[in-house]
């Protein structure tokens, strides 16, 4: 994929806007274990990009490489127009990183953490104090500012972490699983924070294992599986990749399940959950025919749910890890 690396609009190949992150042929392996096996990414400036994948897919490795923490084995990598291999320091000046594990200094207070960042961004004393006060206020940490960061809750630590990332006013922000381990309220707060960042023109590169999160936040989503990009596109494009929904029948009696499974040969079996999936688009007509057919076959399920395709389906279809035992479904 030809990519415009320098923000010079004239030289654009195709219709692509200048890239905040441009990755061609990224490879990384540890010993004989290949973590990233030739990845291409093009992330336009000012957009939100989500790298989605199961645990161990290589998401964190990709972030570590693009944020200059570790080196790639191969690949033409540019962040903010700077070559990662030749000018990592320029890349560092353009980015902010909030890793998966809290990058705050637990031994000092939240405010001291912020002032430390201000010093390292070479702000003046006055500026540093001002930015610190503003960000602590914005992230609702003013009250806890004088307490050691180690006493903060998980959500507060994440907020402090992001506040510290923002001290230098980075144009490109990497967020590695920003909501992992947060309770639902903190997660929604974090989403609000990320949306707010985007309105100020910042490019956000986030990784997540939550499809809902990618769907909520991202302009474009890439599904990473086994070190390769399995699919890339908008949430809508990805959803179109897989065929329609299904009706799911759940049984509590294994005998009933087995006889139903024998009768419904076209259904997909999930022996562990004692459930069957019958392809269906969820329309009234199709649903009726499914019900009629169940009646005539004498099958009585304990639960019947209609499932319309969402990113979960795309994800499991692409990553080939089968349906999970618990998916969100609409009962109609």
């Amino acid at each position: 994929m030809p990519s415009s690396v320098m923000p010079t609009p004239r030289k654009d190949v195709g219709q692509q806007p200048p890239a905040a992150v441009s990755v061609v042929g990224l490879r990384k392996s540890y010993g004989d274990k290949t973590v990233l096996d030739g990845i291409d990414l093009h992330i336009p400036a000012g957009s939100v990009f989500a790298l989605l994948g199961p645990n161990g897919a290589g998401k964190t490795t990709a972030v570590k490489i693009l944020s200059t923490l570790i080196t790639a084995d191969a690949g033409d990598l540019h962040v903010g127009g700077h070559d990662l291999a030749t000018d990592p320091q320029a890349v560092r000046a353009a980015i902010g990183v909030t890793g998966q594990f809290s990058a705050v200094d637990g031994l000092i207070t939240g405010e001291e953490n912020m002032l430390l960042m201000a010093d390292l961004q070479h702000l003046s004393k006055h500026e540093g104090r001002q930015v610190t006060a503003e960000l602590l206020e914005r992230f609702d940490l003013t009250e806890a500012a004088k307490k050691p960061a180690s006493t903060y809750s998980g959500g507060m630590k994440r907020r402090l972490d992001i506040a510290m990332t923002l001290v230098g006013n980075p144009r490109i922000i990497f967020l590695d699983e920003p909501t992992t381990g947060l309770d639902p309220r903190s997660r929604h707060n974090m989403w609000g924070i990320i949306r707010e960042l985007v309105t100020s023109g910042v490019t956000v590169f986030l990784t997540t294992q939550y499809l809902e999160e990618a769907d909520e936040l991202a302009d474009r989503i890439a599904v990473l599986n086994n070190g390769r990009i399995a699919a890339e596109g908008t949430a809508e494009e990805l959803k179109r990749l897989i065929p329609g929904g299904h009706v799911r029948l759940r049984f509590s009696d294994p005998t009933a399940y087995r006889s139903a499974a024998l009768a419904l040969r076209e259904a997909t079996r999930d022996d562990e959950a004692l459930s069957l999936q019958i392809p269906s688009d969820g329309s009234q007509r199709e649903l009726r025919s499914v019900l009629d057919w169940l009646d005539s076959a004498g099958i009585e399920a304990d639960e019947l749910t209609v499932h319309t395709p969402d990113l979960d389906d795309v994800f499991f279809a692409l990553t080939g890890s089968g349906m999970p035992s618990q998916t969100k479904e609409d009962v109609r």
Binding site: A90, V97, A103, V104, D105, L107, I108, E112, L116, M164
Partner: protein
């Protein structure tokens, strides 16, 4: 900003961070001081009469034995303080904050430089505290000239620098605080088998090389000479060589480990 002023600025920021840690959590530093102070009191007040009988041909009294062991204990204090350095470096490296520093446009070595300077300052403060205990129980160095005092201070600083660099390296290769504390054991163990408590001549013959060919003994003999006017001989140069060699070794070791990709 020029690269030198960037280095100075970022290193002093990192130094401030480390001093803030030390000030906020003084118990770690103070705990490490307990070992040399306990040993000082133990050897002077409990074993003192027996020990002093073995010094200077048997005619020494307790105050002479105090004078004999204080220099070694000052150097042991440095060893003990730098164990704390190894532990906190290892703690630090396992924290996300170091990963953050690595992704920031700061002078790359400032993390280590700030740590080393902070640790040397901590060592010197510890030496002053243990020295004060020594003076309180009767240690005197009144015959030494100002120049000798200065040289003694220089030796202590250089020794602290050398052990700190080694401790930083040990901390960096240790996966956790327990491992760091174990790996740094030689820093407190070596002074025990040096000429801190008894002269090397008084040790069994097979053991004398072990006591002699290690950094503490020549440094102790040099410090004794500077503070008490005993014979230094070539110990001064040997001590200096040890300091330079250990500093260089620790420096390149730490740098190499720090510049490796983190796991």
């Amino acid at each position: 900003m020029s690269s030198l002023s960037l280095a100075v600025r970022d290193s002093s920021t990192m130094l401030r961070r480390n001093l803030l840690h030390a000030r906020r959590y003084p118990s770690l530093t103070l705990n490490l001081l307990l070992t040399p102070i306990m040993l000082l009191l133990l050897f002077v007040y409990i074993f003192g009469d027996v020990m002093s009988a073995g010094i200077g041909g048997g005619g020494a009294d307790r105050s002479e034995y105090i004078a004999y062991i204080v220099p070694g204990l000052l150097l042991m204090t440095i060893g003990s303080t730098t164990i704390g350095t190894a532990v906190s470096v290892s703690n630090d490296m396992s924290e996300g904050i170091i990963a953050r520093f690595r992704t920031m446009a700061i002078h790359r070595s400032s993390v280590i430089t700030g740590r080393v300077v902070g640790s040397v300052l901590q060592s010197i403060a510890s030496v002053v505290l243990v020295g004060a205990v020594g003076v309180a129980i009767g240690f005197r160095s009144t015959d030494a000239t100002a120049l000798e005092w200065l040289a003694a201070f220089g030796l202590l600083t250089l020794f602290a620098l050398a052990l700190t660099w080694i401790a930083v390296g040990m901390g960096m290769v240790s996966p956790n605080a327990e491992a760091a504390s174990n790996n740094a054991m030689p820093l407190i163990f070596l002074p025990l088998i040096s000429s801190t408590f008894v002269p090397v001549d008084a040790m069994p013959g097979w053991f004398q090389p072990i006591a002699e060919y290690q950094p503490f003994t020549p440094a102790i003999e040099t410090l004794r000479g500077l503070l008490l006017g005993t014979e230094i001989g070539n110990n001064g140069w040997i001590a200096l060589a040890w300091c330079v060699a250990l500093s260089a070794l620790g420096y390149y070791w730490s740098k190499a480990v720090y510049n490796r990709d983190p796991k």
